[in-house]
Subunit: 365 residues, 3 copies
């Protein structure tokens, strides 16, 4: 981490245009919040310039066209790519050279391995497992019998795939994730909860990411399915028999109960919960902490417990904050109207009327 680079060198390296002193030295690359006076930082939009001015960064990478003031800058076409290059330069990526098949991995002889497969020491691979070209199984991962893993997949340390799990190409399964455990289905007879059939498995499409400590249960008789391109964050729970669509984004700590189905490109924010047997339509957006108890129509944004269309829910939430004041007003009104009734009755009696339909009893007081 003791590397030191001149801005001129950096500009050449990332193919950018430097405005500032080419001899100025920087020793690291960090986001604005963390940057010291030795660091170069990045700002991919002008709205960050205030924060930038307040930081002590020595220089900044910006997109072509933007011109921050009071700081040396390098304009590039793709800020994030250029910055990533610098980060890797200052803090070279820990080497994970091709490892091959470790003699300390436990691999059943019936396993079929593609080319350039890496299986680290301490990984366990059961009978009849198939692993595609270029895939990596890290230490402590356990792949039970009959699993089929595609090409260029990474199974991180201590992840577990129960028997017969299918994983598509280019998936990443992070540490501690558990795919294919028993579904939570019981029938109660004479006070005993009897586990339902657990004959199914989990089928993960291509390009799926599965976060650390996420759990996806097997189907009862067939598959629990996660569609291609879907990204799942840490600590998500997907119940048995679910069928998650393509390109979904499922944030941390979401829980989806059994037999739910989702369309394509659904987005669920953190800590959402979905009841069993619910269908969520294509491109639905569900706000954080929402509780979904019924099917959701495609294309809509939902929020709250129970989840309602977002605009409706926002109005309700806004009004809730007025509730104590509303209650006070309501009480005042009750008093005033009672007074009026009394007077009216007095006045009304002159005309022989008793028109008001009963007196108001304050129940909410």
């Amino acid at each position: 981490m003791s590397k030191e680079l001149k801005l001129g060198e950096i500009a050449r390296l990332v193919g950018g245009r430097l405005v500032g002193d080419p001899a100025l030295c920087v020793k690291g690359a960090a986001i604005i919040r963390d940057a010291t006076s030795d660091d170069i930082t990045l700002a991919d939009r002008a709205t960050l310039f205030d924060e930038l001015s307040a930081s002590s960064a020595a220089a900044v990478i910006v997109p072509d066209g933007l011109q921050p003031s009071g700081i040396a800058y390098i304009q590039v076409r793709d800020v994030r790519a250029a910055f990533a290059e610098l980060v890797m330069l200052f803090r070279p990526h820990t080497l994970r050279e091709a490892q091959g098949i470790s003699p300390f991995a436990r691999i059943e002889s019936s396993t079929v391995l593609g080319e350039n497969v890496n299986i680290h020491a301490g990984a366990t691979v059961g009978a009849d497992v198939v692993i595609g070209d270029g895939s990596t199984i890290h230490a402590g991962a356990v792949i039970l019998a009959g699993c089929r893993i595609g090409r260029n997949v990474t199974i991180f340390p201590n992840a577990v795939l129960y028997e017969n799990t299918i994983v598509g190409d280019r998936c990443r399964v992070h540490a501690g994730a558990v795919i294919g455990a028993f579904g939570f289905g019981y029938e109660t007879k004479d006070g005993q909860h009897l586990l339902s059939a657990q004959l199914g498995y989990v089928e993960i499409g291509d390009d799926v990411d599965i976060g650390a400590c996420t759990t996806i249960d097997r189907g009862t008789y067939g598959a629990t399915i996660v569609g291609s391109g879907t990204k799942i964050d840490n600590q998500v729970m997907i119940g048995h028999n679910c069928r998650i669509g393509k390109g979904n984004i499922i944030c941390s700590q979401v829980g989806i109960a059994g037999s739910c189905t989702t369309g394509d490109y659904v987005v669920m924010a953190g800590q959402v919960g979905i009841r069993d047997h619910v269908h969520v339509g294509d491109r639905v957006n569900i706000g954080a902490k929402s509780g979904v108890g019924a099917d959701l129509a495609a294309g809509e944004t939902y929020l709250g417990v129970p989840a309602l269309p977002s605009r409706t829910q926002m109005q309700i939430m806004f009004t809730q904050q007025k509730l104590p004041a509303m209650r006070k007003e309501l009480k005042q009104l009750l008093r005033i109207v009672e007074q009026m009734q009394l007077r009216n009755e007095d006045g009304g009696s002159q005309q022989g009327e008793t028109s008001v339909p009963g007196s108001v009893q304050s129940e909410a007081a």
Copy 2:
């Protein structure tokens, strides 16, 4: 998966009565949602017949007495048992033959093993552990010193039992579950959070299922207890010193803080949270996402944050959705009544009255 069976053969196999062409061939067994024209499916009640008609299934298993139309069917006494048999026929269960004690398991010499115990390669069993007859410890599971595990227990891959954990007979502890980690109890002195005593352990009764990545913390001085017959889903958290009753059903992502007690046959739906030191009575039902802050009386159903009797909460939730309209009405009323007051005062002044107790100030506006 290339097996093919005639309906006649299937009917004989499951001891059912076929109505349809006995020569018709099927190649798989799948639930209605997933069934193709090559599959036999199941429908255990008539309300599924619409969904069945819309599917392309070739045939269906139904209970005695039911007669779906437009599809070949086989009537049996126990639909689920018969269907499970077919699923296993078409997709034979991955063999997990008796494995015995793997030479690649790490087992302390002081461990006492019953008969027919299976310990897979890569499992770790600490000193003075006792494992009962017929139990299985999978790869990567870690059983620390002093644990006592009953008969016919399965500890799935990478589950962890801290020292002195007690597990009853016929329990299943799924992958990634952690039993007996330290409780979250601190005393703060001079700005330092000091960990309380961590001298206790966890005691699990018989026939308990514990889901993947579920965590149950040890007691401070004694036991955290889970009663016999209780079933716990994935990613549930049970705090230190809790005493969970018998036959509870605890769904995914429920969190129970320290020192709670529950009666028997309590049901908690997904993502429920329970404050520390709360008692939940026998046969209480707690709806999804509820937050429990106080003791709950036996036999009731509760819902919401804070949890209230379900009917009360449903009414409140229903009324919340009327809130924006209520606010509008309230404002209108305020305006009208003010108008009336003004007029009354005009009229009233004739009689020398100023009877209305102050004017209404709209605070919620």
Copy 3:
């Protein structure tokens, strides 16, 4: 567990003053709830004396000055310390003698180990890892390349540290915790979710506890930081680029989205959720199940979804329970006022007035 001690001996042992029969024997130490007639228990405040009277405990440890009635007691200065001593006496702690470096651990040759380091069989330690004096790595834990672990740290079984994780002195990382997995950041191009740069790492200060199955994601380019003295319960999720302050208490199942920052001594109760890029000020308290969507000012207590100052939210929650009654009252008022309007209009017509601004339409009905 068959040990038996006389109260006289116990009093001497804990340096306390016995009031009761010194020859009375006890066979165990348990909290009041669990104590049998063979047990000594503890009561560290007088408010527990009712519960104590109802228990069958044989004797009790109390603080100097307190005098429970109807039971033998021992007064001591520090009740919890004395009681912990007794618990350990009756149920001696499972020995975890210095283990040294197991020949069955998998350790890269470039690893640098301090003095008195314990690495258990089945642990995996990658290239260029540094482990400080007195630290312990348990079975199944995986420490990837480039990690730096301080002194007297315990990494419990099956925890995972991704590459370059930094852990300070005296930390505990419990079983199944995952530190440094990829952040959940994607850019969507042509319907494909492309993972952002994952070049960062996680940096944990000194004296930090991390609970079982908790996950802390790496920064995008730099560090995700957890400050010294912070205690994190089980199943907590901390997103990429977060910067958690010192001395925080983060209870179970809390989720903190990416790029959040917290001050010092923040307390978050169970199942709290915090949106990305939010700042939580020093000494903020956040109530259980709250949902935080915006910055929170220092020193305040917050509650609810969205999180509001606790007193405000309590009022709102209290009023919500009045909602159905409020709606009923509002409807009654509507009816009465309509009646009044009608009458007024009748009366008003005498004076040629139509003063009331339109009739009230019940929208909430």
